[in-house]
């Protein structure tokens, strides 16, 4: 622990107000997502608990029919916007983190493989990556989502939607990781410690995972943080377009889509609060990623 507090990284963090604030915002949002069932006054994902007559209640004003008051108002179905944001945040974060983890594992594996093995393996993997880079990632995600939805039996679609989202965003995101890891692996491969490991007869897989991997991880960490912000936005975009999280289990993007229909009619709070939350989350994670990149970059030190 003391080693961590004495480290350069912690010093860089301590002296950067942007990093402290964005870490704080991220922490608050993550914690409130994790503990959503404890904080939220209602469970918006339980359709039986909704009262339609509560619909369109203004923030902090009692409803005309039921007399109930909601901190941030309610949407068209009578869902408490505050609770829905907390639960929606859970979906957004869960999808974002899982998708990045998935993309990271896949990307690191393929990157190590192509960097270390080279030859045809490298050519095939890297050309596949190039081809995928020419498509906008949201398009790739929509394609995967559409195909997966087509092959899933109807009764599992609701449960599957989240996993399909993770798969879709993850698969559209692995290229970044693979390219960076491959580059770093090419550099590390020619170093003496790898040659030494090879001389004493270590298997290629072991060399890749035990010797090279730890040395290529720091750029991966930076990409992962920035990718997280992008994945959260990608999830929101897909849900906004109506191909993501189901309407009965809204994520932040779904909430924004619902709220967008009521902008002209003056029910601004349905859109405004989820949008602010998404903005805060994406911005904080992004700034954290930026700071991490600078902090880990020896040339900037």
């Amino acid at each position: 622990m003391t080693r961590f507090f004495d480290s350069d990284i912690f010093y860089a963090f301590r002296t950067s107000p942007v990093a402290i604030v964005s870490a704080l915002v991220t922490a608050i949002l993550v914690l409130s997502a994790v503990f959503a069932p404890l904080i939220a006054p209602t469970n918006p994902f339980d359709p039986a608990s909704l009262n339609l007559m509560n619909g369109f209640t203004r923030p902090m004003e009692p409803n005309a029919f039921t007399g109930e008051t909601f901190l941030l108002g309610t949407d068209d179905q009578g869902r408490d916007v505050f609770s829905t944001i907390l639960y929606g945040l859970r979906i957004s974060l869960f999808v974002g983190v899982s998708a990045v983890l998935f993309a990271m594992v896949l990307g690191i594996f393929l990157g190590l493989l192509s960097g270390y093995v080279g030859g045809w393996t490298e050519t095939i993997i890297m050309r596949a990556a190039d081809v995928q880079l020419t498509f906008p990632s949201i398009l790739v995600a929509m394609l995967i989502f559409g195909v997966a939805k087509g092959v899933t039996p109807v009764e599992y679609r609701d449960q599957m939607a989240i996993w399909v989202l993770i798969l879709a965003i993850g698969l559209s995101d692995w290229v970044q990781f693979a390219r960076v890891v491959r580059g770093a692996t090419l550099v590390e491969k020619s170093k003496d410690y790898v040659a030494a490991a090879r001389l004493i007869g270590r298997s290629p897989l072991r060399i890749m995972l035990r010797h090279i991997l730890p040395n290529v991880l720091s750029p991966v960490l930076v990409i992962a943080t920035i990718s997280l912000a992008l994945a959260i936005i990608a999830e929101a975009t897909l849900s906004f377009l109506g191909v993501g999280a189901p309407a009965t289990q809204p994520s932040l993007g779904t909430l924004i889509r619902i709220g967008q229909g009521f902008l002209f009619s003056g029910e601004w709070w349905i859109l405004f609060f989820p949008a602010c939350t998404l903005l805060a989350l994406a911005l904080a994670v992004n700034l954290l990623g930026d700071w991490l990149r600078d902090a880990l970059n020896p040339r900037l030190r």
Binding site: L50, L52, G78, A247, G261, S265
Partner: protein, 516 residues
Amino acid sequence: MHRLSTALALVLALPATAEEFNFAVTTDPQTMDPHAVNSTPVLGFLNNVYEGLVRRGKDMSIEPSLAVSWEPIGEGEGWRFKLREGVTFQDGAAFNADDVVFSYERAASEQADTSSWFAPVSEVIKVDDYTVDIMTTAPNPIFPDSIANWMMMDSGWAEANGAARPDKDQGNYATLNANGTGPFQVVSRQPDLETVLEPHAGWWGEVEHNLTRVTMTPIQNPATALAALLSGDVDFINPVPIQDVARLEGNPEVRVIQGIEARVIMLGFDQQEGSAESGQGGADMFLDPRAREAVAKAINVPAILQTIMRGNAEVASQMVSPAMRGFSEANAAPYVYDAEAARSLAEEAGLAGQTIAFKCPNDRYLNDEAVCQAVTSMLAQAGMDVSLDAMPVSNYWPELRADNFDMYLLGWSPGTFDAEHPIRFLAATQDDEAKLGSWNFGGYSNARVDELLPMIQSEIDDTARQAMLDETAKILQDEVAYVPLYVQPLVWGARSGVELTQRPDDFFILRWVTVN
């Protein structure tokens, strides 16, 4: 100076833009083929391009169109139509009796979605070039009322382009191209993007509109469409999001045209025993009428109308609205909301522990997805587990035709403005040969209803006819064949200089539009 520049601006602006008319719709017509899909977006749009023997006026009354007069033959063996002479199609070909016979064969063919309109017809005979006899199997007093949307296609054009029969699924030349006798012709068609119309110079009728070019753009999101109307990008939208009506009423640049549509929104159920329900687990949960009644009682329709529809719709009691001919006054009481009764009925019927697959369109009816969500949570409150799947209408009909549902949302607007229409399409037992029950996706079937339908169709005496319609309405209500929810409101929006006529069938007729 200021006045001068305003006048100058007016002079410069008027000739260029005044008669170019842009409008937005939520649902793009699936096809330009008037016999391929029997739905309001398609028929409503094509009414500007194609014409039938008769047409409906501003007050929905039947008036001559391509036929100048008609009379019954003998003791109700059929109808004789005298055709209008000198009518040309948009490609210049002349219209005559051969085209009527061809259009009958085409529209009544197995591949056509309109074939059920011709269930009472036995034969169409060309008497001479401008006289046609349409023979019916039984006396049919309302036949001329039932064919206002049967549109005439040129036999030569269709055959030369390989479109002699419609093709619902694959599409053919007539899916993307049109050649009618109507006041407007399609000059360019890009599905889901833009469709451009121009006036048909050789139209036989008297021109009332002042349009030189009409562009229809599908805008799926109603809020986006409204933004386009407010900014002047489009001159007309249908529908205006219901939540925005109050706000628009204070805006001098636009006006809202409201009315009650002929359309009843209802819930349908899968009532087929063990049919090919791929992916539904094959559960026959709605075979039991108690299960359907549980749904009927679990839904608080007034609450839906109060919040989602903002008080702009009426609760429905049967498959037609009170404005339709043949509405059953005797059965005008809607199902009463009673969550407790619904809960115990659901338990008795064994709905507990089963997941109801609920299909819903999200771009077809006003606030359709929001209504479906509200229904989902109301059923959950009565102890029923519902899995809602909302989708665009282009995926929706195929999904229903494939029987991929336990419950679904449907809106029905009777094309004949008569209570017989939904019985024929929605309540009669599915029978492809007799062209009955073609939209009866759930497979509802009742022997007495099937027996009553032909009697209703051929009954000339109004009282006797109404008695049979009452009996049918009662059976459908008692057995909960469908759960009628509400009569959909019509909410159109236009720039304030636009004069138009709103008809309760939700058809936007361009020949009545003038732009000032």
